[in-house]
């Protein structure tokens, strides 16, 4: 018992020392808190998959009432911004090559006349296919507007039997476009900050040669690692609180589920990242390699395989399998479930278990490598 308390007091002295280290470097500290805050705000407001303000040119060869009515309908819709029209078909390609125009709508000559006399007419849509997402949305929107107009001028004979779909938006009544991005950015930011800072902390001692001193001291090597990680754990917890406050009060994302559960899961995820950082620092010998590994090595997989930017189910199978070993993926699922859907622990126990398993594994590898270095 007594021995244990000696260790404990040693450990706490050591943790204190590490805290001093962290607090001395004010700028790094500022960065550690400043970055996540600014990024959450920026991305929370700016990132969206909504398509608005699409620049369109209308080539109206008919210039009759019908074509102008449709043009007006497009002008008043919030999706489109009608640009000064081009004179002829040849100019369309030039305009596309020049700028931001995403699509062109072409009315043939006699558009309205045909509609009136033959009962049929046509329009042509040309989209800039270099952005397929926008191209598809543009076609959908324009089709809807034109169909709507068609109904207006020539209502189709009323159907006697109709099924009317009533659509309800679950979890997101207002259609807040950034909702999906917030858990994603949280995962990304925590991942990078926690992993990189810890990975550098140990390597730095190696680089400076102070590690040798630590290892010959009568201090359990495990405690060196723990002492390195504890300050970052506490700081990251403050970071999570900050991020959640921002999400609720600034970005208007309500936490539907238990705040306590969300916080607990975030701590678990932070510990996973810290363990990953410790492991990286054990297998590298210079700060540069450690940073490149933890930053470039983590940034891309987190961006791609977490599922907040690109749908995972569309990826080829090998990538889907890879995504399972990315910790951020599981945290992202948990945050979505708890924060946005308001679900309880019984829905996320599996993801929690996976994160716990990953943490134990990473810590195990980190500790084992650390011991080998001692001998």
């Amino acid at each position: 018992m007594k021995k244990l308390s000696i260790f404990n007091s040693q450990l706490s002295t050591f943790i204190k020392k590490e805290f001093f280290h962290v607090f001395r470097d004010r700028r790094t500290l500022l960065i550690m808190f400043g970055l996540p805050v600014v990024q959450i705000i920026l991305f929370g407001f700016a990132l969206t998959n909504e398509v608005k303000n699409i620049e369109i040119i209308i080539l109206d060869n008919a210039k009759d009432i019908n074509s102008q009515q449709i043009t007006n309908k497009i002008k008043t819709s919030s999706y489109f911004q009608v640009q000064a029209s081009v004179l002829n078909f040849k100019d369309i390609e030039k305009t596309f090559k020049k700028g931001n125009i995403k699509c062109a709508l072409i009315f043939p000559a006699h558009f309205g006349e045909d509609l009136l006399h033959i009962g049929k007419s046509q329009v042509q849509i040309i989209t800039d296919g270099s952005d397929p997402n926008i191209a598809k949305t543009v076609v959908n929107y324009l089709t809807a507007i034109i169909m709507d107009y068609q109904q207006q001028i020539a209502p189709s004979p009323a159907l006697s039997y109709r099924i009317i779909p009533e659509t309800r938006m679950l979890y997101n009544e207002e259609g807040n476009g950034s909702l999906n991005f917030i858990p994603g950015v949280m995962a990304l930011v925590l991942m990078i900050v926690c992993t990189t800072l810890t990975s550098v902390a140990v390597v730095k001692e190696k680089e400076l040669g102070t590690m040798e001193v630590l290892l010959v001291s009568p201090f359990k090597p495990v405690f060196v690692l723990i002492a390195k990680a504890v300050p970052y754990l506490l700081l990251s917890m403050i970071n999570v609180i900050l991020i959640l406050l921002l999400a609720v009060y600034l970005l208007d994302v309500q936490i539907q589920g238990s705040v306590f559960l969300l916080f607990f899961e975030s701590i678990l995820f932070i510990i996973t990242c810290l363990s990953l950082g410790l492991m990286i620092s054990n297998i590298t010998n210079s700060q540069q390699t450690a940073m490149l590994l933890s930053m470039m090595g983590m940034m891309l997989p987190t961006l791609i395989f977490t599922g907040f930017l690109f749908p995972l189910e569309n990826m080829p199978l090998p990538f889907q399998i890879i995504s399972h070993i990315v910790p951020a993926r599981w945290y992202f699922i948990i945050v979505k479930a708890v924060m946005l859907k308001g679900l309880g622990f019984q829905y996320v126990w599996k993801e929690t278990l996976i994160l716990t398993g990953m943490t134990l594994l990473l810590l195990g590898v980190a500790l084992k490598n650390f011991k080998i270095r001692l001998q």
């Binding site: 470097d25 970055l35 600014v38 920026l42 700016a46 969206t48 998959n49 608005k52 303000n53 090559k97 020049k98 995403k102 509609l115 009962g119 007419s121 046509q122 329009v123 042509q124 849509i125 989209t127 800039d128 296919g129 270099s130 397929p132 997402n133 926008i134 191209a135 324009l142 034109i146 107009y149 020539a154 189709s156 159907l159 109709r162 099924i163 779909p165 009533e166 309800r168 979890y171 009544e173 909702l179 990304l188 900050v193 990189t196 210079s286 700060q287 390699t289 940073m291 490149l292 930053m295 470039m296 961006l303 791609i304 690109f310 749908p311 569309n314 080829p316 859907k341 679900l343 829905y347």
Partner: protein, 372 residues
């Protein structure tokens, strides 16, 4: 000029010696170019639907099988209550629920109108929106069919019908790789220019060698150029490598002129290198430099229209986006490669980039003086 030659020799030698960084600089492009285009596909292919059929009638069955055979939807479960269906949404196994109430067929035949409930998981906005649209159009189509069946009528000839045809220019099959590959070429230059240079000067500071250089009669601009040129050369090699890979693997060959494309890449790289140097001059140690570089590169990547379009952003965000050199190069790179835009089409953007290059490098040189 002679001094610069020696400096360059030294820098190149240093870069060659550090094989880890060198490997990262050349491996990263290849890995990114192979993985990203395969992984990024926004196409909404299969929407998972959970169905609650409380009617079990001929018509409800018909509607369900019409949805299942449409090719857009995958029926993941058929439940007896909304509550049970909801668990599929909660677990993320379903994207939407369709509820057919009891008495569906009876009401439809007797009263001619019947509502059905559709609930979509709106956290993932894109999928929800598109799923809802598909489902609506299937139901509309179904309506016409019941009408014909029940009334024995033929599909009425519509008067005033507008026929809509559409073509996608520059990418007829609307494949995502055409959108993604040019963006990755920019990403490569960004990472080399931003990350690697940011670390470079700071490392000399940390190790203390910068003091030695500062006491030699080397001029500031020589020092900065000595740092810039090697990475510029590497950047251009990587860019060429990237273009070769996009041609070999994806068959994407720039439609515009190589001269225009390379002029843009060259100037862009100078701008980004200046940016990396600037971060370097402001940081005390590598960790700071790396974090600041990370901070900005994340903003570049996420806000410059790499993956999400800038059109939907609020106005102030577009302003920020426009203040990054990246946004301009992503835009023009896509235009030159995919649309074949000529220099005249994009010359304004070129001057923007030249401006960025001048400002960032000028600032870096100025700020480097201070530390001396």
């Amino acid at each position: 000029m002679k001094v610069l030659g020696f400096l360059l020799q030294k820098e190149f030698r240093q870069i060659r010696r550090d094989t880890t960084i060198l490997r990262i600089m050349f491996m990263l492009p290849i890995i990114q170019l192979v993985i990203f285009p395969l992984a990024i596909d926004f196409d909404v292919k299969s929407i998972n639907i959970s169905i609650v059929d409380q009617d079990h009638s001929t018509y409800s069955q018909k509607l369900i099988s019409k949805i299942a055979s449409s090719g857009y939807f995958k029926v993941v479960s058929a439940e007896t209550s909304f509550k049970k269906s909801l668990t599929y949404i909660e677990k993320g196994q379903a994207d939407l629920i369709m509820e057919i109430p009891a008495g569906f067929e009876r009401n439809l035949v007797r009263e001619g109108v019947q509502k059905i409930g559709i609930s979509v998981d709106a956290i993932n906005g894109t999928k929800a929106g598109i799923g809802g649209q598909y489902l609506n159009s299937i139901i509309t189509d179904f309506n016409v069919n019941i009408d014909m069946n029940l009334r024995g009528a033929v599909a009425p000839e519509q008067s005033g019908a507008i026929d809509i045809t559409y073509t996608n220019w520059f990418n007829p099959r609307a494949e995502y790789k055409y959108n993604v590959v040019p963006a990755i070429l920019v990403l490569l230059l960004t990472m080399i220019g931003g990350f690697v240079t940011a670390l470079n000067i700071v490392k000399e500071k940390e190790v203390g060698t910068i003091e030695q250089i500062n006491v030699t009669p080397i001029k500031k601009w020589e020092f900065i150029l000595g740092k810039l040129i090697p990475f510029w050369v590497i950047g251009m090699i990587v860019f060429t490598l990237g273009l070769t890979i996009s041609w070999l693997v994806y068959g994407i060959v720039p439609r515009g002129s190589f001269l225009t494309l390379y002029s843009f890449a060259a100037v862009y790289l100078v701008a980004l290198l200046g940016f990396g140097l600037l971060i370097s001059t402001y940081s005390d140690n590598q960790v700071q430099a790396m974090f600041v570089a990370f901070f900005f590169i994340m903003i570049f990547i996420l806000m410059s229209g790499f993956f999400t379009s800038t059109d939907g952003m609020p106005g102030w965000a577009k302003v920020i986006s426009n203040m990054t050199p990246v946004a301009h190069f992503v835009k023009t790179d896509r235009m030159i490669i995919l649309k074949g835009s000529g220099f005249n089409d994009v010359k304004m953007e070129f001057f923007y980039l030249v401006g960025f290059a001048a400002i960032l490098n000028g600032w870096a040189i100025r700020n480097y003086k201070k530390t001396n």
